[in-house]
Amino acid sequence: MSMIGRREVLAGTFAHAALMLPGIRLARAETERRLVVIVLRGAMDGLHMLAPYAEPAYRTARRQLALGPGEHGGAVKLDGLFALHASLVRTAELFARGDALFVHAVASQYRSRSHFDAQDVLESGALRPYARRDGWAARLVNLLPHGQALSLTPVLPLLLRGSAEVATYVPYADEQIPEDLLNRVGAMYDGDDLLHDLWIDALEIQRMADDRDSGGRRLQHLAGLAGHFLADDRGPRVAVLESHGWDTHTNQVVRLKRKLANLDSAVAALKSSLGAEWSQSLILALTEFGRTVETNGTGGTDHGTASTVLMAGGAVRGGRVIADWPGVSPRTLLDGRDLKPTTDMQALLTMVVSEFFGLDPGLVGRNLFPDSRLALSWQGLVVGRGTL
């Protein structure tokens, strides 16, 4: 059955989905591989996604935030050391089938605990913030013959800037105000008599109208769309999504329960809409840095360093946690507070991307991360192109 025939059966209005995209030329890229990058903005707590439950130091440091296997633990045991947050139901299934893995204790080389600076480094592929005005994913697209990329974000992110073969697509205007923004606006108005009082009333109005999970459903919807566009033979081969709201200084347990469920739905939606192309696909969920090992006393954690990378897709050799695990006991912590990074983000991406697309790692490294001297490791995380 042809691609198009099945599309019409499955997706109804999304037949020939890529034809709907302004800015996307209908051209068949040479590669069959599909890459999705999900940028998690706000510093996702890798230790809460994937908890080293078996380490006593973890329970001590995380106190009431600690997760563990078992009925009330909030996590599902993956192996003797790590447990996966219970919200990631579909991802756990993929893990069990070998279609997902996690890389732990990953960070970029730039030690910054500023969202801005670190996101810039994460996306630009440079060693310092504001050194480059284009992104590594754009440079990757330039390496793929007839390759194109699609960003399902309101603003074209730095990650995809610098290539002519990029389009953005946002199907509807997002009327919801993100929770993080609401919180910060409230904090800004704290010292202002007029605005403080107005804001309290405003939040009441917002609460009544609020659709708490619209952000999550939106991510899920966009992920589904991304999959449809990627599945089209003549569509883009790289898609970028983003998710806000990971900056859990407070109320981490409740907030990450929801956020991780959102992420899980997005992964599931991608798998569903990619269809047969799932076997040729790779989803990377990345964040700019992690969070402190110890909880901060307001039910959350503060900015840290190393975090987790989620990889999912038919091309993943999954079912394992990849980590040169430093542990979370106090004497191993970076600056006495953060999980120490033992895998470099750029080295990881170079290896994974080159194997995934069947490109020379040296070529990929020079193009995607030109300022870096990369010590490559972790071969074989994905099925190389051409082998199935």
Binding site: R41, S114, F116, I177, L181, R184, M188, W199, G245
Partner: protein, 492 residues
């Protein structure tokens, strides 16, 4: 009074002097404050750019004396920049509208009941409104003489017409472009006359169909047609445009009678005259002398009302009314009485020379004493946001944004215009809408660094707390949104 370390270095090191302390100090020693160069207090630039001007653009810098800077910028003002020059003049526009409307009515009277073709006049009006609003926003965002642009908006609000009917939708902007823009730096009497003779005003306040009870037209007509005096323009002229109150109902009637004959060609009662143009029709004019504001005005046709308007424009109450409104707009919701008196004195002494009044306003120490004293109206906030983020107006749906915020352009629903007090705009729901729009604006602006932008557009008034919130934002887009919602950006 400590300055608190107003460091000249770039970045987020600006420390804000507590506002309340500054305000009380000034009340106690206004003369001393007057002598102080506002630049040493650190927020003169912010007042120059954001309260006198329409909002700092990223590369705007105030050099030297803030007051001199504001006055010098006025030299760059152009009454007819390219954006305005491309617009259709009210005369042909109104002509086309009236023609289309007339045809539609004829067709409906004569035509088949099933004829459901829409009124083309409505589409014409909607298109004109849209083009005019785009031009207005373009001029506001691009101007380097934004103090004068702000004054244009001020006068457009003072002489408000509201686009509630289709015909006014076509015309509302033309009053601002044709009557106000050319006269904003002239004499008040010229401005007043240009406005009161403009078809938009004559139609809005029903002057075009006001007929003197003893005029030839009234006497010739049969009683089936209701031809009569309409007092609307006269009333608002005295109440809002000039004196600001203190007059009698008799004076309203007398002025209304003097104004009869002031009409617009092509309108219902004057269809045979050149459409869309001011016309004085003697057959509609009430004969006889009139009494108004303590003087007698001999019968003089069109010149009779002109004489009254000229006297009104030099009346002490007018001077006070205009001065109060200017002071309210540029200084505070409740400006000090002494500065209002000072402006009114200049107004009278110079015979209503507006630049002289503006100069007195800019040079008033009271205007520089308290930063962020005014809460931005939705229009002001939107313009300042587009200027700060350098977003081309045609790429952003600002019109629906303004509607959502409760200030659709040229639709104040009242000849009194939009209120100039914070109570009108600072409300919980409105605040949420601003946050939502701020996010959209930030998304439209793309990759700009709010941390770098903030001290430049809010020089000397950026609070540490705000700067910290911006710096800690989850993403660059959120940081820009926070900047646009900041207490310092919601005010001017």
């Amino acid at each position: 009074m400590p300055c608190g370390g107003c460091s000249p270095t770039a970045g987020l090191s600006h420390v804000l002097v507590p506002f309340r302390a500054v305000a009380s100090e000034v009340e106690m020693a206004s003369e001393a404050a007057a002598a102080m160069d506002s630049a040493t207090l650190g927020y003169g630039a912010a007042i120059a750019l954001n309260r006198f001007g329409l909002g700092a653009r990223p590369r705007d810098r105030v050099e030297g004396s803030s007051q001199a800077w504001v006055l010098e910028c006025t030299l760059a003002y152009r009454a007819r920049p390219p954006a305005a020059a491309e617009l259709e003049h009210s005369e042909p526009l109104l002509g086309r509208f009236l023609e289309a409307q007339h045809k539609f009515r004829e067709r409906r009277r004569a035509g088949a009941p099933g004829d459901v073709r829409p009124n083309p006049a409505a589409g014409l009006a909607a298109e004109a409104y849209s083009l005019q609003l785009q031009a207005r926003m373009s001029m506001a965002v691009d101007s380097s003489a934004s103090f004068v642009e702000r004054l244009v908006h001020f006068w457009a609000n003072h002489f408000a017409v509201s686009a509630d009917k289709a015909i006014l939708r076509a015309l509302a902007g033309t009053l601002e472009f044709e009557a106000i823009r050319p006269n904003v730096l002239g004499r008040f009497s010229d401005l007043l006359l240009a406005v009161e003779r403009h078809p938009a005003m004559l139609i809005y306040l029903d002057q075009a169909r006001s007929i003197g009870p003893n005029s030839q037209m009234a006497q010739r007509s049969d009683s089936s047609r209701s031809l009569g005096l309409n007092e609307n323009l006269a009333r608002e002229l005295l109440e809002l445009h000039t004196l600001g109150g203190g007059h009698t109902q008799e004076e309203v009637v007398e002025l209304a009678l003097a104004l009869t004959g002031w009409t617009v060609g092509g309108t219902k009662l004057f269809r045979q005259f050149p459409p869309g143009r001011f016309a004085f029709r003697p057959e509609a004019h009430e004969p006889g002398a009139r009494r108004c504001v303590g003087r007698r005005y001999a019968e003089a046709g069109e010149a009779q009302a002109v004489a009254i308007l000229n006297d009104l424009s030099l009346h002490p109450s007018t001077a006070h009314n205009v001065s109060l409104k200017l002071a309210r707009h540029f200084i505070a919701d409740d400006p000090p009485a002494r500065v209002v008196r000072r402006l009114a004195t200049v107004f009278l002494r110079t015979g209503g020379d507006l630049p002289a009044v503006y100069r007195a306003l800019v040079e008033a120490p009271e205007a520089w004493a308290v930063p962020l004293a005014k809460f931005k109206s939705p229009w002001e906030w939107m313009v300042s946001a587009l200027r700060a983020l350098q977003i081309p107006p045609h790429t952003f749906p600002f019109r629906s944004g303004l509607s959502d915020l409760g200030q659709p352009a040229w639709r104040s629903k009242s000849p009194a215009g939009w209120p100039d007090r914070k109570e009108a705009w600072a409300a919980p729901h409105a605040l949420l809408v601003r946050v939502r729009l701020a996010k959209k604006l930030a998304e439209e602006a793309g990759l700009r660094d709010a941390r770098v932008l903030a001290p430049g557009i809010l020089p000397g008034v950026l609070q540490r707390r705000t700067a910290a919130m911006i710096a800690g934002a989850e993403s660059a887009t959120h940081a820009l949104a926070l900047l646009l919602c900041a207490p310092e950006f919601l005010r001017r």
